[in-house]
Structure formats: C-alpha cells, structure tokens
C-alpha cells in the first residue's frame, strides 16, 4: 500500500469526509472558501477521484464535526486537500468496485458504505483519467453572490436572531473608565465585561443607534503608545529583536552596492466588515465564522472562556474576501461574548468599517538592507537583513488564544506578541528573503521586533511582499551598475530551468525591449514563492509623471498541474491588481495614540479607473500542483518600482510608490 496522505491519517473516518444523498454525494473538506474559488477546485478533484460528474458532488461547509485540515492559508489548499480527496475517492471506488453506472446506482452503493470505515486501511483503486481537473469549471458559489441571494455570514437570519455590536476602544491600550451602571438605550441590552462593552437587540436599527449612544456615553483612559508613522524603518530597527538566522555562508568580500527598502503597515481592507454568529444553549456553544481555521478558533474560544472544547462547535460560513488573518476570529468571539448574555438566542455581531480598518490585525511594516559584491558583471556575495514585526498572531499560534476581545475583559487574556511561522513553513518576516539567484556566499538574517503595540498577522504572502520587492529592486540596481539588461542579468544568475522559462516568457509576452513612448517605463519582477511554490514573473508598463499609472501588467506563472485554469488565472490577476493597490496607494496611518486611516477616505484602495489590464499566462506543466493565490504579490511590487525607475530615472525604495515618494526620490537625487 502506498503512502497514506497526512490529512487522511489525521482524519481516517470515511463518514467525516463523505455522505450520500438522493443521487448526489456530499463532501466535507476542512478547507474553506475565502473568495478564492478553492471549494470549486476541490469539488473538481473529488469528482474525478470518485468517478462522479461534478454536478453529483455537493461541497459542505467546513465544520469542527468534519475533518481538521488546519488553516486555509499559504496557498497550500490544493497541496493539502488534493491527495486526501484522491485517497478518499480511490478508497470509495475500491470499496464499491465503482464507479458503476448509472451514477444513481453508484451513489446508492456509496450510501451503503459504513461511515466508520477507516480509510487508512483501504488500498485505493488506481485513478481514472481526469475529466474535471484541468477544466475551467464555473465557480459553484458565484451564482448566489451575483444574483444577490443570501450566501454570506452577514445574511444569516435564523429563528430568534438578535443583532449585536461591540464598541471597540478608541485606541490600543485604552481602558473603559466610566459608564453608568444603569446605562440604557431603547430596544437593547448592554453587555459589559471590563473594557469589553456591547449591545444586543432584536432590531438592527435600534442596535446601531444604541451603539452611537454608547460611544457618546463611554469615557476611556487612553495612552500614547504608537510609534512615529513617518519614521518606521528606524523604529523597526530598534530592539529588542529575535534574530532569525536563515543562512550564513559568509557574504561579499567587497561590497559594490548597498541599499535599503521599506513598506508601511497595510490593512486587509476587505469590502465587508468581519462578523460572527454564536448561540449558547444547554448542549454547549455553536459558532458560525468566516475564519481561516475553525478548529484553532474552537480551541481558542474554549481556552479563553475555560470551556470543554467538545462543547464548542464551529461551522464555516462564507463572507467577503479573506487575504489572511483578519478580524473573522475576533468577530466570532465578540458574538460568543454577546450571546452569552442571551442563552438560546443566536447573536450576529458585525464590525463597523472603522473596526475593520483599525482593529483587524495589520500586515507589518518592514525594512530591509541588501549589500552585494559584483565581479566581472556577476554577483559575488550577498548580505540581506530584514527588520519586521511577526507575521502571525493567529488564534492558538504558539499557545495563546489571541482573540481581540479577550484582552479587554475584566480578567484579561492578553494578546500574544506577533511571531513568525517556522522557516520550514516558509517563515514570516524572512519569507522569500533568500534570493533564487546564484549570488556567491549568502548571509540572510531576520530581525523580528518582539515588543510592539501594533497587532500584526498574516496577510497574503507575509514578508515575501517586501523581501521580493527589495531583492528584485536591488537586482535591477546591480544590473545597472554592471551595465546589463535587467532580464539578461537575471537569466545570467538563474540556474533553475523552470525559473528561466518563466522569466524568459514574461519578457517575451511583456514586450521587453520594444520601444516605449516618453514618460513610460517597463520593469520586471520575479520570484518563486516561499522558494518551493509557484514561479511567477510580472512585467509592468507604467506611465509616470507626478504619479504612477499602470498601463499594463503581464503575469507569467508556473503553478504545476492546473486544477482549474480560469480559477488560477483569476487568482493571479486579482493578486497582481491587489499588489498594485498596496504598492501605489496604501499605508495605515496613525498618530501617537489612534489609527487614523479608519475609513475608505483615510485608507484609499485602487479604483476601477486605476486598475490595470492584466494578461495572465500559465506555463503548461504536469508537475505537482502548487498554489497560485500569493505568487504575484512581491513580483508585482518590484515590477512597478523597476518600471517607475525606467520611466523617471529615480528609484523609490520606500513604499508606497505614490506622488510624495516620487518627489522625495527626485529631491534625494538632486
């Protein structure tokens, strides 16, 4: 018998993955729909594995009653769930001698299987030729969303529903100083525990009005805890730090060039504010959440409230786009705390736009310094240092529950300082800090700031966004010193054949070397995500005068075997556009006390008229699948900065690449 996939070993019971209905099967995976289309791709894999048409496969939402497949994160879902579903399907075909025709008879045979069957003990039948995988199947979830049907967590309207709102403190570290013991507002009940304060009521309008009144009536003690937003690189370099020794082979004997780069704090800025729903009753606690990890959320809720985890069930329900650890888990816990006051009634707690932008975990500000030697046009030695806060404070990560409201309770459960995923999982601050190029002896070190008032966690590509931006900007700077064309210079330092093919193809499709109008520049950025994932090159064409306008992006990616070509293209295209927004416009702003970029005017994102056309090309491959969702983030940033340099003759090393940054770069050059 071959190797049994890890997720089957951890979840061996057939019935936790599969049940059969009338003419269809229901598959429950532990991976969740975040707006990335993963459930459709997994349905395609399941259909092929079982030997059923896609229409006969229904995907159930992830639940703590189903398989635990950890987080839906890191572009790993196909890599994790694919082998498990193939084993499941192979085992079912072997147990039923299926697929038998017609499909309805086959489904009946599946229905007759013992749900307690241990899948690790079944030798799977060999796979049939795929008919769904490799096809651009339409997303299963989109019709509801486009037609305006109830689909999102915010749309749930169960019997007896109450609406809930939490009044978040005005600033980090604020303490609720004064609120009348007999505070009242029409139609709502008050829930208070320390500095956690909220309202619950039947009618949404009354709950919203009560929240406004509550905000007027609460007095807070606030403190100035935040750093100077205009001097973040210096602040990041101040300790204490934890050193992350990624690689030490020495470094350059002589430094030919050295430069530093930075990015500000960024917000997830999903279009919907986070929300959660919970109901307490005699059987325990039921939670509905759009979390990326329902099992860790269950454990965190149980630990914070000292409950038996078995008495807590969490079910995933889709909500707006999720690009990492956002406010989903926190909003779920808000619902839990509010619902505790009204046993038997479900409470839907929805954040405000301000909560979402100011209280959702942020993507950390980062800065990096690169130095390299250059001998006869070749890179000879490389030193890379990156300073950052940690990129994970997910619930349960490193043992702490990490739920926002826990820190505001009368008996607080403090939030852990953000840390990093281990290097074996791609790292956080040092993700993609090691160059893919042949550069001679390398020394790569991360410096993770261990004390901070700002809560940061995983956002799409984690540290790779800044690290790839820095490395790929620096490669262009070295190419200029060496008098070499940036594409040729990259190819001269790349041994990996798939990398070379991706760079070469991007240059060709992106019109590399073709003449451009005045004030228009072209630039390239390239990386292999996490060093083990997708290869992705982006060629950007930008018009730059007082600010940067993107005329065109060309994305070329090798993601191995493609499950759903249009879905993969959609992810790469969306990732490139989102990275364009981060790179050109975004920056979390604050004074010494409060986050001030707490609405869409304070935190503008790329609009329709600014969004560039994107051409996506997928490399044909029969190699194992790797994820596509995060591959474009770093390469896009670098391609834009390199293109802006090509157009303007000045280099912007501190993001965002906005008008002010261009003016500073021009001033610095004078």
């Amino acid at each position: 018998m071959g190797d049994v996939p890890a997720h089957i070993v951890a979840n061996p019971r057939l019935g936790s993955w599969l049940t059969a209905g009338d003419g269809y099967v229901e598959v429950r995976v532990g991976k969740v729909e975040l707006g990335q289309g993963i459930v459709t791709a997994l349905a395609q894999i399941a259909a092929d594995a079982l030997g059923l048409p896609l229409a006969a496969v229904r995907m159930l939402p992830a639940s703590t009653t189903g398989p635990d497949q950890g987080l839906t994160a890191g572009s790993l879902s196909v890599l994790h769930a694919g082998p498990a579903l193939r084993h499941l399907g192979g085992a079912v075909r072997s147990l039923t001698s299926g697929p038998v025709h017609p499909p309805s008879a086959y489904v009946e045979a599946i229905r007759a299987l013992d749900p307690e069957t241990d899948l690790t003990g079944v030798e799977p039948a060999s796979p049939a030729a795929p008919s769904e995988v490799g096809r651009s199947a339409q997303r299963l979830d989109l019709p509801d969303k486009v037609l305006g049907r109830p689909r999102y967590l915010a749309d749930l309207r169960p019997e007896g529903l109450l609406h809930g709102r939490v009044l978040r403190p005005p600033s980090v570290g604020a303490r609720l100083e004064e609120l009348d013991d007999d505070w009242k507002a029409p139609g709502v009940g008050l829930v208070r525990d320390g500095s956690f304060v909220g309202v619950v009521g039947e009618r949404e309008v009354e709950v919203d009005r009560a929240l406004e009144q509550l905000e007027r009536d609460c007095r807070w003690e606030e403190r100035d805890l935040l750093p100077d937003q205009d001097d973040l690189p210096a602040w990041l370099r101040e300790g204490p730090h934890e050193e992350i020794a990624v690689l030490d082979e020495g470094g350059p004997d002589f430094v030919a060039h050295s430069a530093s780069y930075s990015k500000p704090f960024l917000a997830h800025a999903s279009i919907a504010p986070s929300c959660g729903m919970a109901r307490w009753d005699d059987d325990g606690l039921q939670v509905w959440s759009h979390s990326q990890g329902i099992h860790p959320l269950r454990a965190a809720v149980a630990e914070t409230l000292d409950l038996d985890p078995d008495a807590v069930q969490v079910e995933h329900v889709e909500n707006a786009g999720c690009y990492g650890h956002n406010g989903a888990d926190d909003a779920a816990f808000d619902a839990v705390l509010l619902a505790r006051a009204v046993p038997g009634r479900p409470v839907l707690a929805r954040w405000s736009r301000r909560d979402e932008l100011a209280w959702g975990p942020l993507s950390s500000a980062m800065t990096a310094t690169v130095s390299a030697g250059l001998v006869d046009g070749r890179i000879a030695g490389w030193t890379y240092d990156v300073w950052s806060q940690g990129h994970s404070s997910r619930p349960g990560f490193r043992g702490a529950p990490g739920l926002l409201a826990g820190a505001h309770l009368a008996t607080p459960v403090p939030l852990p300082p953000p840390t990093d995923p281990p290097l074996t999982a791609g790292g956080g601050s040092t993700r993609n800090a090691t160059p893919i190029y042949t550069v001679g002896p390398r020394r790569v070190t991360g410096h993770r700031k261990t004390e901070t008032p700002l809560r940061t966690s995983s956002m799409r590509s984690l540290g790779a966004y800044l690290n790839v931006f820095a490395i790929e900007s620096f490669i262009d700077e070295l190419a200029a010193i060496a008098g070499a064309d940036p594409v040729r210079f990259r190819l001269n330092h790349l041994d990996d054949a798939r990398a070379r093919h991706v760079v070469d193809t991007a240059a060709r499709l992106g019109g590399w070397g073709e003449p451009l109008p005045e004030d228009v520049g072209r630039g390239i950025g390239f990386a292999r995500y996490k060093g083990v994932g997708a290869w992705c090159a982006v060629v950007a064409e930008v018009a730059a005068e007082s600010d940067v306008r993107v005329r065109r992006l060309t994305v070329v990616a090798d993601v191995g075997t493609v499950v759903n070509p249009d879905g993969a293209r959609n992810q790469l295209e969306g990732g490139a556009v989102q990275a364009t927004s981060w790179t050109l416009k975004e920056r979390v702003r604050f004074d010494r006390r409060r986050i001030t970029s707490d609405d869409w005017e304070g935190y503008p994102i790329l609009g329709f008229a600014e969004a560039p056309p994107v051409d996506v090309h997928l490399v044909d491959s029969d190699q194992p699948s790797v994820g596509a969702g995060e591959a474009t983030q770093g390469p896009t940033a670098a391609a834009l900065a390199n293109a802006a340099h090509h157009a303007l003759g000045v280099r912007v090393r501190d993001l965002p690449l906005d008008r002010a940054a261009i003016v500073r770069a021009i001033e610095a050059q004078k």
């Binding site: 305006g148 919203d208 279009i271 786009g321 249009d566």
Partner: protein
C-alpha cells in the same frame, strides 16, 4: 408606516423614517442582496436604484424613499433569468469573493439603461464609486461592456 415600491411590489414598512434604507431592506424586508460594506456611502456595496438614481442605501433615510420605486439587485433578474449584466459576470467569472458585485450590478445595469453600448473607459468611470478588493475590476468591466453590446 412608510409606503414604497420595492422591486415592483408595493410594501408598507414600520421602520421609522430615519432608518437607513439598507437596514429596512435587510432587516425588515429580508432582502439581503444589498450588502453592508461601510455604512458611509463610500464603497458601493449597498447601491440600489431609487427612481432613476443609483444611491448608497446605507446613507439613504427611509423617508427619502417614501412613495418611490426602489430596485435592488434581487429585482434586476427578469422572468427569463438573470439580468444581462449578471449573466455576463457569471459567464466571465468576473468576481472572486463577490461581496462588491451586487452593488456593481445595480450601478452597471443603470448605466446600460441610460447609455447603451458604453466602452470600457466609460464603464470604469461609471464604477468609480464601487470598490473591489479582490482585483476583479478588469473582468467586471469586460463583462459590463459585453452586456451592453459594446466592444471595449
């Protein structure tokens, strides 16, 4: 009591006149297709037609809709199926999380009613008050242009 017409049907609602139209639609009428995104009229997720205008329903008090015709995303699909903008969006898979898309459909449908055959620049301009975070703008614009019978 406020009387208004929602998706062609006359309704009487009990919410007071200062209640945001979005809250009336979602909470009192159970029409959850209009989404809450910001509550400040800055993202377009809650766009509805009010008479001939497209308005953010989160910033529109109920009294303003009294006696008027409101069309939400749920009211755009005809008897024969989805609105052409919805069909084109589905055909091109022009959405990722889809949370912005209902408001975009409402805005785009209004555009096609008033300006047949807009090109992509005009569509992008018309959607300037709709935000999309997943980066589906290009596909959405192509879908709306196609629904309008235009050629980019």
């Amino acid at each position: 009591m406020t009387r208004l017409t929602v998706n062609g049907a006359e309704v009487v609602v009990t919410s007071d006149g200062d209640t945001p139209l979005l809250t009336v639609l979602r909470d009192e009428l159970g029409l959850v297709g209009s989404r809450f995104g910001c509550g400040q009229g800055l993202c377009g997720a809650c766009f509805v037609r009010l008479g001939d205008a497209v308005v953010p329903s989160c910033q529109t008090p109920l009294w303003q809709a009294e006696g008027q015709a409101v069309t939400t995303v749920e009211g755009l699909a005809g008897g024969e199926g989805p609105h052409p903008v919805q069909a084109a969006i589905l055909e091109r898979q022009a959405a990722q999380c889809g949370f912005c898309i209902a408001g975009i459909v409402v805005r785009a449908a209004a555009l096609l009613d008033s300006e047949p055959g807009p090109d992509s620049a005009r569509v992008a301009e018309a959607l300037e008050r709709n935000l999309c975070r997943c980066g589906s703008q290009q596909r959405i614009v192509e879908a709306v242009v196609a629904a309008g019978g235009g050629h980019g």
